[in-house]
């Protein structure tokens, strides 16, 4: 082999390895910055939406508080059912309750429960007389304002807010005022699509991890769909661990699977007042897919250009060195010292060197795309073993001083080095229809493989007697 070729070859190998490592490092940094940007955006979304939800809940809490402080309701609960004034006061209470429903859009119905939990007045007259003493939030509402989910009659979706009514003079517990708030008003806050792209969504789950607001992807998931995701688990776990009244959106650093089984990025916020979690999620493919694709495309393009110019420069510099060397030594058609050195290297060393490089390359490329745990080994291992064998054929070329073997082996080996990340790229993005860029890449890989095989074939033509 001529010195010029050897220098170009060394330049090529250095440029290839350098560009792969350089691209990997740049990619991981860019990917981290991009992911952090998405998380920050999602955190901002959850904080602002949770703020809206909390303001909404505060408003309904205020309504319940106002009703519980009403003198009309207090008077009504203070008298006996057999009292002659009872019907008159009941009428006044109904008027008061009806006014509240009329004034506040989000309230579906209101009612008054006596100290035993029996509904004694309501804007839904058919329910009067129903015993709600077993209701969880009635027990809580005896002491303070409480929120709770009520088994909804029919298709109405609502949650209840209860406030205790006490005698203003003695402080004696008289009953509970309950209002049923329409969940569709929470939907209005969570289903606002601004800043969430095509696949982003915000939803609320209760402490049983049941969906409480409409989902973008499910038609009838409210109170049916259980959300057992990392985002939901973290929201409740971190709250319990911290024992804090409130905590704000901790991002999940790694993408996770959502309730549909899709890979998403997400953030959450715990709403302590009602023990709900507000979650914001967006598909990883939408948030990161396109920028990643663009980055890889540009990186590959730049790498090819850089490698080409470095090899070209190596070729000219090698030619210059060759001229000086031949002029000094006055040697014609003698293999250079580098080639002579390589020709003495045992084939086993080429195997070890190739295998070591292949294993390192495998981990770097796998890390670059989907993580080495997700690589399909039955595909990756033959690829890398072909590289090792082709590298050994390349080594044989030096031993036999046959440039066809050298170039053939090298082309097949390098073709495999390019093919492996290309396969990972295609599989990780799930591209089925090859784009023009992919077509060019595949043609390049196949052409390298084809020319390599042809050169090895020509080497056989030269040496087979």
């Amino acid at each position: 082999m001529r010195l010029r070729t050897a220098v170009a070859l060394v330049c090529f190998v250095f440029a290839l390895v350098g560009s792969i490592f350089g691209t990997c490092v740049t990619y991981s940094v860019a990917d981290r910055i991009l992911t952090e940007g998405v998380y920050n955006h999602l955190e901002m979304v959850v904080q602002s939406r949770a703020g809206h939800v909390e303001t909404f809940l505060e408003g309904r809490k205020g309504t319940a508080e106002q009703l519980s402080a009403s003198v009309v309701i207090e008077d009504f609960l203070s008298i006996d059912e057999n009292d002659s004034e009872y019907d008159n006061k009941l009428g006044l209470v109904h008027k008061r309750l009806g006014k509240t429903v009329d004034l506040v859009d989000s309230i579906l119905s209101t009612g008054v429960l006596d100290e035993n939990g029996v509904l004694v007045a309501s804007t839904t007259p058919s329910l009067i007389g129903t015993d709600y003493s077993e209701l969880g939030y009635f027990q809580e509402a005896k002491r303070e304002i409480a929120f709770g989910i009520v088994e909804s009659p029919g298709k109405a979706r609502f949650f209840g807010v209860g406030a205790p009514v006490v005698d203003s003079e003695t402080g004696e517990f008289l009953g509970v005022v309950g209002i049923n708030v329409n969940l569709e008003y929470l939907d209005k806050i969570t289903t606002e699509r601004t800043g969430l792209g095509e696949t982003g969504e915000v939803y609320i789950i209760n402490d049983e991890k049941l969906l409480m607001t409409s989902s973008r992807f499910l038609e009838d998931g409210v109170f049916i769909q259980k959300v057992e995701t990392e985002n939901a688990d973290l929201c409740y776990e971190e709250h319990i661990k911290r024992d804090a009244k409130e905590h704000i959106g901790h991002e999940i650093i790694m993408p996770f699977l959502d309730y549909r089984g899709e890979k998403v990025l997400g953030a959450h916020q715990y709403i302590s007042e009602v023990q709900w979690c507000l979650l914001a999620e967006i598909d990883e493919a939408e948030a990161l897919g396109e920028p990643r694709r663009e980055f890889i495309g540009s990186a590959l393009f730049i790498s090819v250009i850089v490698i080409f110019f470095i090899v070209l420069a190596g070729f000219f510099v090698g030619g210059w060195f060759e001229k000086i060397y031949l002029r000094k030594k006055k040697i014609v058609k003698e293999p250079c010292r580098f080639v002579k050195l390589l020709s003495k290297v045992k084939l086993g060393y080429f195997f070890v060197l190739g295998l070591g490089f292949a294993v390192g390359y495998f981990f770097v490329v796998a890390f670059f795309f989907r993580g080495w745990q997700n690589v399909k080994f039955f595909d990756a291992v033959p690829d890398l073993m072909i590289f090792v064998v082709a590298f050994m054929i390349f080594g044989c070329g030096f031993r036999f001083l046959n440039s066809f073997f050298i170039w053939g082996g090298l082309l097949v080996a390098v073709g495999k080095l390019v093919e492996f990340p290309l396969q990972e790229y295609v599989v990780s993005l799930g591209v089925l229809e090859p784009t023009f860029f992919l077509l060019m890449c595949w043609i390049l890989v196949y052409a390298m493989n084809f020319v390599g095989i042809l050169l090895i074939l020509y080497a056989f033509r030269e040496v087979v007697k």
Partner: protein, 85 residues
């Protein structure tokens, strides 16, 4: 269209390899020595066919790669057996 181009490229490459291998095998009268190159031509044809039918299935890819690995090992064994140095 892109699929068609890729399939055509693979088929043209395999035809060239078949042609060259046949010519060399007949000229040198050593068919055994050139047999691996026939196999690699066949593998290329299969690759072209899978591409045409859009069979981007991982295990098929793996099988073709495995076939290629066997062929290259075979070529290396042939080189070593000849002891040309």
């Amino acid at each position: 269209m892109n699929v068609l181009i890729l399939t055509s490229v693979l088929l043209i490459f395999s035809i060239i390899i078949f042609w060259e291998t046949t010519v060399l095998a007949l000229r040198k009268r050593k068919i055994k020595m050139f047999l691996p190159f026939f196999v690699i031509g066949v593998l290329m044809c299969f690759n072209g066919a899978f591409t045409f039918y859009k069979l981007y299935v991982h295990y098929l890819w793996g099988l073709i790669e495995l076939g290629q690995l066997v062929v290259f090992v075979w070529v290396l064994v042939n080189i070593r057996r000849e002891k040309w140095d």
